[in-house]
């Protein structure tokens, strides 16, 4: 956190100054470790084992916050007796189909639910293809409101007992063996965690991409969530799970997504054959019968369609629902890049992203771009993704010959953050408006300008077309006030459309509860409704922090409803009283209003007048079904999910799998790695062998990549900026003194790192911050590389991402770029054609050279069978 979110880290330092214990668990000693009270080095890719150990410690010693757990989580719920655990199936859950490598979650359901009538479910295969877990980020799980419960938590099939059995094997000894952590260090963490949780104390968990960029990334976070729920840390001040997000508006670009599977406000992109009608689509979101605010999905969906297609969207035509294109599976960026290599994609827009450096498998990225009709790069600088035809490593090896590369490239200069106005949504869901300081120089323009005018030009070209396919473009509500000499669309007008307004009066909506499903209101992103409450740009609010409470509600605006901590109903006990005075945050005040109100430091995440004593009438659903003791109001049962019966591709509980590339056999289960992961097996995407495959020893070391405080991601905003470039001027590789001795590496000298994809070189930094670990009785060396370099800018160097292949978490299709295996050699790498031959030599020795399909399922029926991975059928089919 000190490395990549330094200013955020001031709050950690402040907490530490006030007596908080700071623990850092990371494969290497970083700036964060330097300031932490305790640093625990662990082997990359083993956090589930580590945290699973803590969960086991909690459960074995009965240290959970019982009152919270019983009231607010699904611990008491009884699960179907068809359910079988990884403990029973050697690393698989019940419902696994080795042919498709997917789970049928029917057996994971709560008892009493007839999974046969589960008509509204998306097919689990489709779910995996469409990265559906990302939708569930806010969708909550589609389960019915009132499952059978045993509040004594004794029932053998209640979630609590299942959990206990599931994690029983994660003993301190197993943690030590798997993670390379001493049992003492582990126990210290477990004790600190539990001793600092409860009524009077809370523990916060902070993660970022050290957890997400794994083939089991989502389950990492699930493990954290289970622990935090068991300890009663969710929805409470100083608790929770803090996802430190990446770019300035990565949260915003997820909320108002430029993502293939989502529409604004986490509405899913409709799937062909599933969401055939508006009703099908909306029911798939609202899960009729479930509790919570998704019950109003119709209003959200209709408002979006109205915002898109304005007057053309009417109740009669289902508000132009048919205008939405349909997805049929995985259209993620990695899939798309492989399609580019196959020539299926004609045009590619890069809108402030530099995949030639930033995305896994750099070579595949660049070869894909070299096989387009046209590429539009919008950036501040002449980044590598714009110059792949000229100076990429493939030009050096002869794989791209400029005179033979047909891609037409437009490099369009972008306006910077001070040259345009608009909102960023930062990591805590807070929108902050930026004022425009100066006009952009030269031809620099904002994306707002570019897309507005591109749309205008396209619509001009199609004007008069009678083709049905052109209706969505021609009917598009594409009319914004223009500002200035360059005809910039008014960003505030766009924000107003996002917020939503009454169609007739243009009165801005103040809350999504004002959204109507009849077409009389429109709004482009329901969770953002309220940012223009009272017609005021709330994101531009700037009441100084020093003049308000620590929650600072009058600075910017947070979705939803300016709420700063989600699920904060859980900060009060079931009766609505603060769990303790110290930790008071939101509580029920019987003396307020007519019959009592929720109040506190934050906007209550609960209906303000619904008392704790409220019990839902039988048969109710939606908001009405949320009881006074259901804090998790977006979940189908209103409870925090310790066990997830639905919505996750790879299992209802986290279990330790090895990274896809690992030198070790999974010490816990026969199933080596995540069996449902996405893996595109093809010659261009060779992966290093891992046990039980032979030849894993060719790549004996584990490597991981991450960030430097001094650089930014793919380097576009740091390698081209002198002030930052000089701080870390060269690509380097961190190794422990032990590994340096083993491989003859000299501090300050050169080395190169090799995988089945590439060899990249860097200067050697020998450091005690990396230490060999003892795992399963063996010493394992971990190597660390920053991934910020490329061929452009003021300081250049090899790109660490060239080392990675593509294998993805099945839930969200995020690549495993935190763990791989490699070899490390002293000196500089070969160049030109020799480099290709060099890497090929490694492929041969490790047995992945010839057409190689690797076993993905390693237990049960179908184990060890070669698996072709996840190729989707040729999409360039019918018209």
């Amino acid at each position: 956190m000190a490395e990549a979110h330094p200013v955020g880290f001031q709050w950690v330092m402040e907490a530490k100054a006030r007596g908080a214990t700071v623990i850092h668990v990371d494969p290497r000693f970083t700036r964060t470790s330097a300031l932490a009270d305790t640093f625990v080095p662990l082997r990359v890719g083993t956090d589930i084992a580590f945290l699973g150990g803590v969960i086991n410690y909690v459960l074995q010693n009965g240290l959970d916050f019982r009152e919270y757990v019983v009231a607010y989580t699904n611990a008491a719920v009884i699960v179907s007796d068809d359910y079988q655990d990884t403990e029973d199936l050697d690393g698989l859950f019940s419902g696994f189909d080795p042919a498709t490598r997917t789970y049928d979650p029917a057996s994971w359901q709560y008892a009493g639910r007839d999974s046969a009538q589960d008509g509204d479910d998306q097919d689990h295969v489709v779910q995996r293809e469409t990265a559906s877990a990302l939708q569930h980020e806010t969708h909550g799980i589609g389960v019915e409101s009132d499952p059978p419960r045993d509040e004594t938590l004794q029932h053998p099939r209640c979630v609590y007992q299942i959990l206990k059995r599931h994690f029983a094997r994660y003993t301190p000894e197993l943690v030590s063996q798997t993670c390379g952590v001493s049992t003492e260090a582990f126990l210290e963490v477990a004790r600190a965690f539990t001793e600092n949780s409860g009524r009077d104390r809370t523990t916060a968990l902070v993660y970022s991409v050290g957890w997400t960029q794994h083939s089991v990334g989502v389950q990492y976070i699930r493990t954290g969530a289970i622990l935090q729920l068991l300890l009663g840390n969710m929805g409470r001040p100083g608790g929770g799970i803090m996802a430190l997000r990446g770019h300035a508006s990565i949260q915003g670009s997820t909320d108002i997504p430029t993502l293939f599977n989502l529409l604004p406000g986490y509405l899913p992109m409709p799937t062909a054959g599933v969401d055939d009608s508006l009703d099908d689509w909306l029911d798939g979101i609202s899960h009729p019968g479930s509790k919570g605010y998704w019950a109003n999905a119709r209003a959200y969906g209709v408002n979006l369609l109205k915002a898109y297609w304005g007057d053309a969207a009417t109740a009669e035509n289902d508000f132009c629902f048919d205008y939405l294109p349909r997805i049929t599976g995985d259209h993620g960026t990695y899939r798309t890049v492989l399609d580019m290599i196959d020539g299926k994609v004609k045009g590619y827009f890069l809108l402030g992203q530099n995949p030639a450096v930033g995305s896994a498998h750099g070579k595949a990225q660049r070869l894909g771009m070299a096989n387009l009709d046209f590429l539009v790069v919008r950036d501040l600088f002449e980044i590598e993704s714009a110059t792949f035809w000229k100076n990429s490593p493939e030009v050096e090896t002869g794989e791209i010959v400029p005179q033979e590369c047909r891609t037409e490239v437009f490099l369009m200069p972008a306006a910077s953050h001070v040259e345009k106005e608009g909102t960023f949504t930062q990591t805590q869901r807070m929108l902050q408006w930026r004022e425009k300081a100066v006009e952009p120089p030269g031809d620099c323009r904002s994306e707002l300008w570019f897309f507005y005018h591109l749309g205008r030009l396209i619509r001009e070209r199609l004007a008069g077309s009678t083709a049905e396919r052109d209706r969505p473009l021609l009917d598009l509500a594409w009319d914004y006030p223009m500002l200035g000499d360059t005809d910039d669309p008014d960003a505030e007008a766009v924000l107003m459309e996002i917020n939503g307004y009454d169609v007739a009066t243009r009165r801005p909506l103040s809350s999504f509860t004002e959204m109507k499903a009849d077409g009389s209101t429109l709004g482009g992103c329901w969770i953002y409704t309220g940012v223009f409450a009272d017609g005021v740009n709330q994101a531009a609010r700037r009441t100084p922090g020093s003049e308000q409470s620590y929650v600072a509600p009058e600075w910017g605006w947070a979705w939803p409803a300016n709420r700063r901590t989600l699920y904060n109903r859980a900060s009060a006990d079931p009766q609505g009283r603060p769990w303790s005075e110290r930790k008071a945050y939101v509580w029920w005040d019987a003396s307020r209003g007519a019959a009592g109100e929720w109040t506190g430091h934050d906007v209550p995440d609960f209906e303000v007048t619904k008392p704790p004593s409220y019990r839902a009438p039988a048969g109710s659903d939606g908001v009405e079904a949320i009881e006074g003791v259901d804090p998790f109001i977006m979940q189908g049962d209103g409870k925090g999910s310790l066990f997830v019966p639905k919505g996750l591709i790879d299992g209802p509980l986290p279990t330790h799998y090895e990274p896809v590339e690992s030198p070790f056999r999974n010490p816990i289960h026969g199933q080596q790695a995540n069996p449902t992961r996405k893996e595109y097996s093809r010659p261009a995407n060779r992966l290093n062998p891992s046990p039980p495959e032979p030849h894993a020893e060719v790549f004996p070391y584990v490597f991981t990549t991450s960030r430097l405080t001094e650089h930014h991601t793919a380097g576009g905003m740091s390698r081209y900026v002198g002030r930052l470039a000089e701080l870390q001027p060269e690509m380097f590789v961190e190794v422990s003194p032990e590994l340096a001795a083993e491989r003859g590496l000299q501090n300050g000298g050169w080395c190169h790192v090799v995988t089945a994809r590439a060899a990249v070189e860097g200067r050697v930094l020998v450091t005690d911050r990396l230490s060999p670990l003892r795992v399963e009785g063996r010493v394992i060396h971990q190597v660390w590389l920053p991934y910020h370099w490329g061929t452009g800018g003021m300081v250049t160097g090899d790109s660490a991402n060239d080392l990675f292949g593509i294998s993805l978490d099945p839930n969200v299709l995020i690549q495993e770029s935190k763990a791989g295996t490699c070899d490390v050699l002293p000196g500089r790498r070969p160049t030109g054609r020799d480099l290709l031959a060099f890497v090929e030599g490694y492929q041969r020795r490790s047995g992945v050279h010839d057409d190689h399909a690797r076993p993905i399922v390693t237990v049960g029926p179908g184990a060890q069978a070669p698996d072709d991975g996840d190729e989707t059928p040729d999409p360039a089919g019918g018209t």
Partner: protein
């Protein structure tokens, strides 16, 4: 006004320099290195504000320090020290270690044991620490650079700080060897940069102080490792922080440069360190060179008289 402590000893430097008694309080820095995260924001913010050129684009292989030192193009410098050292243990005076102590690659632990990684249950936590510290001009109470400057380019401001006047300095370079901390330097380049040939160092953002703002580096510092303020108050804060750390068992914490009785009369920018000063590249007991100046002039005077007398004697002798 010049007084008995004008060359050495505790003094209010602005008053001593003739600003009268109603000058603003002395301003300075207390840099608490125990909370520095080594982010280098101070380096960058300083360079941005003061338009200090970037000149160094080589990796140095010394942990994350690629900025080398305080110099004409580096008015803040963050040091990174990797130490295999038992935490919380008391330091002896003179370390019995080689010159290249604490450098990456020094003294690898026994290859096989890997014990420092905390593998063995009884090995305890890793005996390793990473010290970071942002160094800067000390704005000495008795500033050698200022004292020796023959042009009056270096002067004492009303805030008690020491600043180069770029329009006055003739680049004589005298201030450079005079500084006991090796801070100030004549700018050699790059070509086209401003003030080439002129002595350069931290101004404690004199222009910003005049506008009532915080210096750029302190303003940026995410963790407030760099604390800016009234020196008297900072000294109190430093004492309190030291006491707090000692109480918490960090016995190797110590203050550096805060003592008005020390060799430079106390630094306007002082530090809380976690190890001996020289580990951070700081002199352990710096003294302003002009402390000895009267003595030096004395000796020179005697020498001059000796020369005169010698000459006279030579001529008084027998004519040959």
């Amino acid at each position: 006004m010049a007084g008995k402590h004008s060359l050495f000893g505790p003094v209010d430097p602005a008053a001593d320099a003739g600003y009268g008694e109603d000058h603003p309080p002395r301003m300075g820095f207390f840099t608490d290195t125990s909370i520095c995260i080594g982010c280098k924001a101070c380096e960058v913010a300083c360079k941005e504000w003061n338009d200090v050129p970037a000149t160094h684009f080589d990796m140095l292989g010394s942990s994350y320090d690629n900025s080398l030192s305080l110099n004409a193009n580096q008015w803040r410098h963050v040091a990174f020290i990797e130490q295999a050292k038992p935490l919380g243990e008391q330091e002896s005076g003179l370390r019995r270690q080689a010159v290249d102590l604490g450098m990456p690659g020094m003294a690898p632990p026994d290859g096989a044991s890997a014990a420092h990684a905390g593998q063995d249950d009884d090995a305890g936590r890793p005996d390793f620490r990473w010290l970071m510290s942002s160094d800067v001009c000390k704005h000495c109470t008795h500033a050698a650079c200022l004292d020796v400057c023959p042009t009056g380019s270096l002067f004492r401001t009303e805030f008690g700080t020491v600043v180069v006047q770029d329009d006055i300095c003739n680049g004589c370079g005298y201030c450079v060897p005079a500084c006991p901390y090796g801070v100030i330097e004549r700018r050699k380049g790059p070509e086209g940069a401003k003030n080439v040939g002129i002595a350069q160092k931290c101004t404690l953002c004199y222009d910003r102080l005049g506008a009532g703002s915080t210096p750029a580096c302190a303003q940026a510092c995410p963790t407030q490792s760099i604390q800016f303020g009234d020196v008297d108050e900072l000294r109190e804060r430093a004492d309190a922080r030291l006491a707090q750390l000692h109480e918490a068992g960090t016995t190797d914490a110590r203050l550096y440069g805060h003592d008005p009785e020390d060799g430079v009369g106390g630094a306007g920018a002082f530090f809380l360190l976690l190890d001996e000063p020289e580990v951070y590249g700081l002199p352990p007991d710096p003294v302003v060179t002009t402390k000895d100046l009267p003595h030096m002039f004395n000796r020179a005077g005697v020498a001059a008289l000796t020369l005169l007398a010698g000459a006279a004697l030579s001529f008084l002798g027998r004519r040959r």
